[in-house]
Amino acid sequence: MERQLLSGNEAIALGAAHAGVRVAAAYPGTPSTEILEAAARFPEIYTEWSSNEAVAVEVALGASYTGVRAMASMKHVGLNVAADAFMAAATTGVRGGLVIISADDPGIHSSQNEQDSRNYARLGRVPCLEPADSQEAYTFTRLAFELSEEFDTPVLLRPTTRVCHSKSVVQPVEPAAITLTPQFVHEPAKLVMLPGAARGRWPKLTERLEKLAAWGETAECNHIINGSAELGIITSGISFHYAREVFPEASFLKLGLSYPLPERKIKEFTAGVSRIMVIEENDGFLELQLKAMGLSVIGKAAFPRTGEYSPDIIRAAAAGAGLTRPGNPAAAGDTELAKRPPLLCPGCPHAGIYFTLSSLGHRSVLPGRQARPPRLTICGDIGCYTLGAYAPLSAMDTCGCMGAGISQAAGMARAGLPEKPLAVIGDSTFMHSGINSLLNAVYNQANICVLILDNATTAMTGHQGHPGSGVSPAGERRNNVVIENLVRGAGVADVTVVDAFDLKAVRNAVKQGLAAGQLAVVIVRGDCPTLTRKRGKPRLVNEKCDDCGACLLVGCSAIQRDEDGHIFIDRSVCVGEYCTICQQVCPRGAIVEAETAS
């Protein structure tokens, strides 16, 4: 077959397709999102965006119980949501191969923490495979399905951001000839985990680990590269390539199976080298196990315990610990340069609501004016709209994990916060786990105001579908849940729906929601402009403008100042009449429709 240049995520999807996967479920999350998107291009695979990661694992597990191969993919923090389902799968084992992919994010490119998914492998006594590049992402995915069936276990595949999103060459091999008909065989002792049955299963997990460790002794995915007898490096994942770049002469033991470890192979390797380094991103997961084996290794004592690795970081750390001479010290970059954080897009429906919250909450300050103490307590959540935390909007006070905003606000209200707290959540996050929090708020009569920002998509990760949008990963129509019906059905009496681009209506709805003596939900509705790609006549700043800068507080990147300090609008990115937020904000009426569309 032809060589292809694929991202790690595309390679995982291709590997799964070539392994004969029938069902793939996921909740989108960077860096894992494209796995399901790429899988959706294979018509023989049923793909779905599940409402959250626990659901995705349960769907895949159910499919596996019928004897077909299935997978669930998510980002590392998604595995927290799926932890219960993951442990259930670990306990019952599988029928058809089941692969659970949790993509870690060393360096926190787009996450709320840096947790190491490998710890879940140990928790569930489940094998963990760590690909280092796209070729391995492809090969290990196929291997994972085989291991899963052979050892009656789900397999955790743990790529990292740099593997998911980098592209390298993949040489695919012939697809597996898997023709399985779904069929359910009744076996309660395996699948019904009442204590009696569970007590029978749990020791099997330990047996399974021992067999896997024995398998790992001779497996190709754990391989030795003979080099210098001075320095032996034990590593896994992308760190292998970084370490090869910095220490081309060293001997390597590259572990593809990072749990359980092949002890004999490790001892054989370490016996032949005088100094052993362990180079791994995130936790000292291998290091701890190696030390428990009684080996003396240099790991996190020399290499960083946090952050993403790179050849530069490994070289600097090794030099700092006296393990190598410093390389050519590259001139450091200029750290004083103006940063360029991501922003809400021009025409974003969230801009108007955040502008409103920002002005009601005394967050926005005109250039040169004194800042006032902020008002309003705004519990945020995870999605595109988290960008509202950046200046000039600065309209977010908390952001922890998916769906947490509503419950945090309820907790604050119950704790006796004098002012009514606000929770801001996007539609996809609401479907993911916000609904649970809302049910709780209804039941426990939390006096809070919930703003559901409905842009009809999961925008942060690139416009995936969810139960409120009714679009499948392959772009087909599916049923959709109407948020206001759901909210009313949950028992919320005070429900308002407003147009996100009508600033007056938004302001009134928020004020009313805050004034109401009970739980109030405001659904702020407006399409994501990058999804609909609707473009109208751009806005124009005319001579009435006195350059006060009020419009800059909208945070729209189309609004700029020229070198003389005059405000202008970049007509190539303004979405025009589908937005008009700046027009509604300008105190002088200086923003108008341009005569012609650009």
Binding site: H109, H165, S166, Y242, A331, G333, L337, C345
Partner: protein, 196 residues
């Protein structure tokens, strides 16, 4: 054609990732081992974007170590300065003559480097700095979004890749309705001259 380390930098929405994908495919079809990786921060949405592309007989890390970049292709001036230190001595810098001030600059809380600062950032590394009117040329052709194709057209003279090969990959990467105009943009880029 020899192997190369190429760093492409710019702002979300400028087409940095597409440009690097096109170059990567060209290197693949020339028989190289290719690795590339894009760093997008929190998605892109107007933030800094940087793409590392390496091709050679053998490539280990997809990330290029600082000081080992042969060619820096910058779509914007502030981003050019941010990544200048990745160039190796005597490496080549191609900088699109465009200022996109981040919001902090517009709001007056941060400063944008002036042309002297941009020059100074490169002076101590390399004399091969090419400031090119990419965006102006794209606008003249009718669409600022074609700046990536124009810059690829300019860069091809340093890559040792057959222009015809790169052009066919550009055509394959784009939907039919953009093909004609992008071929013209690529041609314009090939003819483009640097500003002194």
């Amino acid at each position: 054609m020899n192997g190369m380390n190429i760093l492409i930098v710019g702002v979300g929405g400028q087409g940095v990732v597409l440009a690097s994908n096109i170059l990567a495919e060209a290197a693949l079809s020339a028989g190289f081992e290719v690795k590339k990786t894009d760093t997008l921060g929190m998605a892109q949405r107007g933030g800094s974007v940087v793409s590392h592309l390496r091709y050679a007989e053998q490539v280990a890390s997809p990330l290029i170590p600082a000081g080992e970049v042969d060619l820096l292709l910058a779509f914007e001036k502030l981003e050019a300065v941010r990544w200048a230190h990745f160039l190796k001595p005597e490496g080549i810098a191609i900088i699109n003559n465009l200022m996109l001030p981040p919001l902090s600059v517009t709001l007056g809380t941060a400063a944008y480097p002036g042309d002297a600062a941009v020059q100074a950032a490169f002076q101590r590394i390399t004399p091969s700095v090419h400031l090119v009117p990419g965006t102006a040329t794209a606008e003249a052709l009718g669409n600022a979004k074609m700046v990536n194709t124009i810059l690829l057209g300019y860069a091809v003279r340093f890559l040792g890749i057959e222009p015809a090969k790169l052009q066919s990959i550009i055509e394959a990467a784009l939907p039919a309705r953009f093909r004609q105009t992008n071929v013209a943009a690529f041609e314009a880029g090939r003819k483009l001259e640097a500003i002194d």
